[in-house]
Symmetry: C2
Subunit: 229 residues, 2 copies
Amino acid sequence: MLKQDIVLGSSRAAVAGAILSRTVERNGLGEAFVLMGARLNVERNAEIYGEGEPAEYVYRVVRGVVRTYKLLSDGRRQISAFLIPGDFFGLDCDDEYRFTAEAVTDATLTFVKRSALTGLARRDGEVANDLWRMARGELHRAHDHMLLLGRKSAQERIAAFLLEMAERAEETDTVELPMSRLDIADYLGLTIETVSRTFTHLENAAAIELPSTRRVRLCNKAALARLNA
Amino acid sequence: MLKQDIVLGSSRAAVAGAILSRTVERNGLGEAFVLMGARLNVERNAEIYGEGEPAEYVYRVVRGVVRTYKLLSDGRRQISAFLIPGDFFGLDCDDEYRFTAEAVTDATLTFVKRSALTGLARRDGEVANDLWRMARGELHRAHDHMLLLGRKSAQERIAAFLLEMAERAEETDTVELPMSRLDIADYLGLTIETVSRTFTHLENAAAIELPSTRRVRLCNKAALARLNA
DNA sequence: CGGGATATTGATTGATTTCAATGTGAGTGG
DNA sequence: CCACTCACATTGAAATCAATCAATATCCCG
């Protein structure tokens, strides 16, 4: 139904890796992906892995955006994170994936066997350290997200979200939102209606402009930052 | 103002460690604490470290309960976790603590220099692996907490909280709550009033009994679990 | 130029917060 | 031993913010 093109790890990837490793990658983990990683193309909304499945592979986003989420039994969805190019995912577990991962947009990924990484970490202290640092990085983002969900108003959540997106993009003035309002709502613990209304409200308050639904200009970052407490 | 008794790491601790390590500790990290850790007594509500301070030490709870939290600029507080005996904390950062840590009750801690641990991890793969596993464990708890804060009603939050507390205690039928209603509120992203009302409501619904304010009997765990979605 | 998905806007409801008052319990000093 | 006090907890009434229900509107794609 939904297509996934896989190119297995091969000499081609290894050659590319040899080139990239000197120019782009500054850590053992990234290098491992470049050297050993196979490539995978996924369509918009395709599932990459499901919560509870055996966590055989670890992934890295090359192109596009990925969301990880959990569902409650009644269908409520909490999106944990949006992953952008360069981000790793599927590392946050032992034997089973704890989230479902889906492509928000058409995306290209690289992936390696988890066992390959853990094996590497046993031999290479730098990789082991990378894994720990990666986990700490994820933990920081989870903690920030927790703060946002626990104690902030709809306006504050949207402001924080926009600033977060701006910070991650290279163009920090106008942000391209690859995800739907529903995705944003489920990331921020709100409804689509509230997200929509809050965008409109911020636009009326001259903090942002909405040239199109998926594009936001942050006219007044100071005002947004103030909302961010 | 608030007292902290410190007993520096010494032969006494090392001897105790030699005994404990064979009986209690099953991992390199725990062993490191037993062998190298100094001991610290803190009074109820005493600060152990503050957000933003240089993260020189890593701690483990021996006795009592500890809370970690962040404050927003306007004073709103989000409690990230309650730590009980056996739990480590202060490991979730690089150079600066990302949370403030305080004693909920009078408590006894052990602590070691972070540099000692990272040095150990460089030499000992088992310790490096422990550090990564610990971080993953924290990440899981953070993710569960995120789900709770993002998408659950007051009743569901309280139910989840009580079940969590019961699971962590050995006596799982009657739970002793070491923290105040305000602590619970700030952990769950609610107000004290809502916490109080919800306790009363659950009592009326015969899901729990409140023999005293700090003691809860879980009469109907199935009902609580159902609320937990 | 449809047509379905996605987004916005409006009206109403409802859960939680806020404001306010009262209750309770543990520790202290008379 | 009791009264007092202070911190903590409960309860009530009103206000508020976001959710829900419902109707358009817009965008993208064939």
